[in-house]
Amino acid sequence: MNKILRMIVVLTVIGIISGAILALVYTWSLPKIVENETKATDAAIFTVLPDTKTYKKVVALDLTYYDCFDESGAKVGTAILCQGNGYQGAITLMVGVNADFTEFTGMTVLDQVETPGLGAKIGSSDFERQFNGLVTKPPIEYVTGGGTVHLPNEIQAITGATISSAAVVNIINKTVKEWLQIK
């Protein structure tokens, strides 16, 4: 009996002390973590819509997007957070559209676990830059291999990483379509 009691007491005391330490550290780090996340979002929005001075976050259904305004308060466009499956795991990216929804203003990959050296190139500036000034209608298409980009809604897929490139295109097309229905 005494043995059992001792086990319970020791484990409980260790648990309580650990809990207290974690509570303290968590309280200390939470504001910093939130600040880091805000900073990352700010940077992504600024990349896809460089004229943004202020933005308003909107969460509707499963979709998160940011209506962006310049210093005079005029709307410069919307930054839409897109998420979907890539070749190996989820891809999260931010895409910007201008205020009258005629063209994309930029794209930046926030999170991806694609193959290093191949699919991971979707995060390279060479690939991301292709989305600047792309028309929104019809939906984005990609050309592979030796094909060249002719139409204003086309991007060049990464050689050896068609699946990742196609995933990015599909994620954007699908999310933008959903966004048009609820905005």
């Binding site: 043995k3 001792r6 086990m7 020791v10 484990l11 260790i14 648990g15 650990s18 330490i21 974690l22 550290v25 968590y26 200390w28 780090s29 910093k32 973590i33 880091n36 900073k39 990352a40 193959t115 290093p116 050296g117 191949l118």
Partner: protein, 211 residues
């Protein structure tokens, strides 16, 4: 004389983790982070430091309260203590080094199940007083960090195709992929075994006392 002997022992406890009983190359402990996060030198180094922090703190605490813990619940107690320090390290990285934390991803929380930490707690810290336990953990942690840094550097050089921007060649993509980790580790262990064999005369100390 007595103090001399203690000093030498402590020095031995510290240096054994660096080479003779290197956690990665000799004991083959903690293989999961070793193989997974060493895609670049900085990732390997940060992972090593985070592990060292957890190892040193948990070993010292476990050693200090080793006589209070009933042996039936010792593993449960160790895991709670280790998990606490891992969470502290994880939150600290998230708060101050967001980029590194993102690069290491789930492998920081996974330090909890790194067998190196529980291994040292069970094999060493639970049988020695806090000072040797601290020194042992520090040595093992530095040995682990060193191993991860070496692996990360080799894989980064071949995988990105540049040696600190001085020489550049065609990158070997396989070196950043998981297969590259196994290949690099295999060659390094072979090299170290080869070096060991040429100095075989030297007596090797076991990782923990044999009873």
């Amino acid at each position: 004389m007595a103090t001399n002997k203690v000093k030498r022992t402590l020095f031995f406890e510290f240096t054994k983790g660096l080479w003779n009983e290197s956690p990665v190359f000799r004991q083959l402990l903690g293989m999961c982070p070793t193989l997974a996060v060493t895609t670049s030198a900085i990732n390997g180094f940060s992972m090593g430091l985070a592990t060292t922090f957890v190892l040193v703190c948990s070993s010292t605490i476990i050693s200090a309260i080793r006589k209070l813990i009933p042996s039936q619940v010792r593993i449960a107690s160790y895991v709670v203590i280790i998990a606490t320090f891992v969470t502290v390290a994880d939150l600290f990285l998230k708060a101050n080094f967001a980029d590194i934390s993102k690069a290491l991803g789930p492998f920081v929380p996974l330090i909890v199940v790194n067998c190196l930490i529980l291994g040292r707690a069970e094999a060493y810290a639970s049988r020695h007083s806090p000072l040797p336990a601290f020194v042992d953990a520090l040595g093992m942690g530095i040995g682990f960090t060193f191993a991860l840094l070496v692996l990360g550097t080799i894989r980064q050089i071949f995988g990105t195709g540049t040696v600190f921007g001085l020489i550049s060649f065609e990158p070997w993509v396989i070196m950043i992929l998981p297969a590259g980790a196994f290949i690099t580790l295999g060659f390094l262990i072979a090299l170290i075994n080869f070096l060991k064999q040429s100095t075989k005369k030297k007596e090797l100390a076991p990782a923990c006392e044999v009873k």
